[in-house]
């Protein structure tokens, strides 16, 4: 470790307030670990949105179906990176799979991740695109791309109506398994924190489901934004019934997530156990801006208000679009703040319940702001690549290649 980091820690000593155990000065889980539940949440949320169409037959969200799957994949591929970068010994990371400790939530998360990526998401996307992949593997003129599609067919180019029907059946079954898997994936992230009894800010059985519902809100918001942006980019009209329905689910997820968070807070305040004083100080002090202002006011109440207005009144299309877009951006920021408040907030106060440490974020270091920004943008590039290779506006592409 470099001297400048030690220097940062020495400087932080002066900013400790009250008493902390000496080892607690260093904040162990940095901004990268804030990013990790955030990204995983986007995955789970996007996938759950996709499942609406398939499992619950909500036909109007169809235009976002493939996009949701691709968003989920793009973010899922990047999800383990922040963890990996954060490790003291990244080269040993694979031991999690080789010699897992079965009582560790973190180890089990690895398996849920692999299951979800390999068995659910990749297969589902493949099945859904299979017809197009076969068509593209014949019609594509740019040879590397054609080779890619050829490989992707895995040598199966039977696209008779009968075989497509089978695909559809398997795909449906897969989504039915996929839905609980996505829930498990993100529920597990919540459990990683919720199961730490040493930390009263984390330790609650509600943690997995709070994480889950805020994940749904963030995933839906993400897909909604991408969809609107892509329509604009491609100069296509936005399918209003579609985003109206998406907005409805968005609002529901927001309301449930917010209610759960408030329930948890009220319960803590009412029971007022030993740790209550320090938590109250935490919320009134170090977390005031990021929690009261960003997470609650800006990230939850405002979007709920806007989306509610759009539900209650017959607003013109243009206004609705603006409201939806604004709500999506606000709640994406708010949910990031929520992850921050959980992960970093939970490390501010001492387990002696007598004081606070500080977090001095580095800018350039391995766990600094810069790598966080890079890791946050990375999924967007992956998504762009996926959109290029597997355009989700498939119907048309399929028809085009069929006629060409």
């Amino acid at each position: 470790m470099n001297d400048s980091y030690l220097e940062t820690l020495r400087a932080a000593l002066a900013q400790v307030s009250g008493f902390i155990y000496p080892n607690e000065l260093e904040l162990q889980w940095s901004i990268l670990i804030v990013l990790y539940p955030y990204i995983t949440g986007l995955v789970a949320g996007a996938f759950i949105l996709a499942s609406l169409e398939r499992v619950f037959n909500v036909k109007s969200v169809k235009p976002t179906y493939r996009l949701s799957l691709l968003v989920a994949l793009a973010f899922l591929l990047i999800a383990p990176l922040p963890l990996q970068v954060h490790l003291g010994h990244p080269e040993r990371a694979f031991e999690i799979f080789m010699t897992p400790n079965t009582s560790s939530a973190m180890a089990m998360f690895g398996f849920v991740y692999i299951w979800y990526l390999m068995v659910v998401l990749l297969v589902e996307i493949w099945l859904d695109y299979r017809r197009e992949i076969v068509l593209w593997s014949k019609s594509e003129t740019f040879w590397p791309k054609r080779l890619f599609y050829k490989l992707l067919t895995f040598g199966v180019d039977n696209i008779s109506p009968r075989s497509l029907e089978i695909d559809e059946k398997i795909g449906r079954a897969l989504t039915v398994i996929g839905l609980p898997s996505a829930v498990l994936l993100h529920g597990y992230v919540g459990f990683i924190f919720g199961s730490i009894k040493a930390n009263p800010w984390w330790s609650t059985p509600l943690m997995p489901i709070i994480f889950l519902f805020s994940a749904m809100a963030s995933g839906i918001a993400g897909v909604l934004l991408f969809y609107m942006f892509l329509c604009w980019l491609r100069d296509e009209p936005i399918d209003m019934p579609c985003i109206d329905t998406v907005a409805k689910f968005f609002l529901t997820a927001l309301i449930v997530a917010f209610s759960l968070e408030m329930l948890e807070t009220l319960q803590t305040a009412y029971e007022a156990e030993e740790h209550f004083d320090i938590i109250a100080l935490l919320v009134e002090g170090k977390l005031y801006f990021s929690m009261i202002f960003v997470q609650i006011l800006m990230g939850s109440l405002t979007p709920m208000f806007l989306l509610g207005l759009a539900q209650l009144f017959d607003l013109p299309e243009k206004v609705r679009k603006v409201f939806y877009g604004a709500s999506a951006v606000l709640s994406l920021v708010g949910i990031f703040a929520m992850r921050w408040n959980v992960v970093v907030g939970g490390q501010f106060f001492s387990k002696s319940l007598r004081g606070f440490t500080t977090y001095k974020m580095e800018f350039a270091g391995r766990e600094g702001l810069l790598s966080a920004i890079v890791l946050a943008i990375l999924p967007l590039f992956v998504l762009a690549g996926l959109l290029y290779l597997l355009p989700p506006w498939g119907e048309r592409a399929g028809k085009e290649s069929a006629t060409s």
């Binding site: 490790l87 040993r92 930390n199």
Partner: protein, 253 residues
């Protein structure tokens, strides 16, 4: 379904039902028996334990210093395997706690001595919890408990995820800045394996720190635990520390 099969089916169902019903009746009795569980040191030998007599500690900090030397711990004031906290309880009810550099360099004189009701020192170190949350959460099993009851970290195996540091309720772990692994008290495993005492115990001038074999009924530590009223830190966590304190105050967490 032919009648033979049906009879078979009914029979299986009835037997399954009976099995569950029998278990349901017996369960309360069995549970009561399980309530008392034998400590592991009745079965394993040796099994190491530790005790601190708070009434004897003078806050000289020699233990924390010796630990850093013995185990080559970075000298920075935020990496400790053991440290000593000072508690000052004032008449007003105010409680002040400090542990500057773990107590190694002594403590600043307290302001307004007249207002102090009492003051004492509390040495802290890993509790070598019988049910250690750090061991529970480690994803690769780098943190483990030895046959003789000591919780250790395998430096060649730790991936440096720091989950264990979050899970320890007592702040006993830190992240080693050069080795990039989690680190904590080993009870000087290299010494105790050779029949010596941990460096902190060796260097305590007042005998406030005690180390010994819990499985030895005649041992000094067993005698101490039998004759004194002791307490552990944060008992509600269910970690079952093997480090006990004599003279623990309610303000100590």
């Amino acid at each position: 379904m032919n009648p033979i099969n049906r009879r078979q089916f009914l029979k299986t169902a009835a037997l399954t039902f009976l099995a569950f019903a029998g278990r349901a009746l017996a369960a309360p009795l069995a549970a009561a028996e399980k309530f008392f569980h034998e400590p592991p040191w009745r079965r394993k030998k040796p099994y190491w334990g530790y005790a601190v007599d708070i009434t004897k500690c003078i806050g000289c900090g020699r233990c924390a210093d010796a630990c850093k030397t013995e185990n080559e711990i970075p000298r920075e004031p935020f990496y400790f395997r053991t440290w000593v906290e000072r508690y000052i309880l004032r008449r007003s009810g105010e409680v002040a706690v400090d542990s500057p550099n773990g107590g190694i360099d002594g403590y600043p004189p307290p302001r307004d001595p007249e207002s102090i009701a009492q003051s004492f020192f509390v040495p802290k170190l890993c509790n070598h919890c019988e049910h250690s949350p750090c061991e529970q959460v480690c994803p690769v099993g780098a943190t483990f408990k030895t046959e003789d009851g000591v919780v250790l970290v395998d430096r060649k195996y730790c991936i440096g995820c720091r989950y264990c540091i979050q899970a320890c309720p007592y702040g006993c772990r830190y992240f080693h800045p050069t080795l990039q692994v989690a680190d904590k008290c080993t009870l000087c495993y290299h010494r105790i394996k050779n029949g010596k005492r941990p460096a902190c115990v060796e260097n305590c001038p007042t005998g406030a720190r005690m180390f010994g074999d819990l499985s030895d009924p005649e041992g000094a530590l067993t005698k101490f635990r039998e004759s004194e009223r002791t307490q552990v830190l944060k008992p509600h966590m269910g970690t079952e520390p093997k480090l006990v304190y004599k003279g623990l105050d309610k303000e100590v967490r």
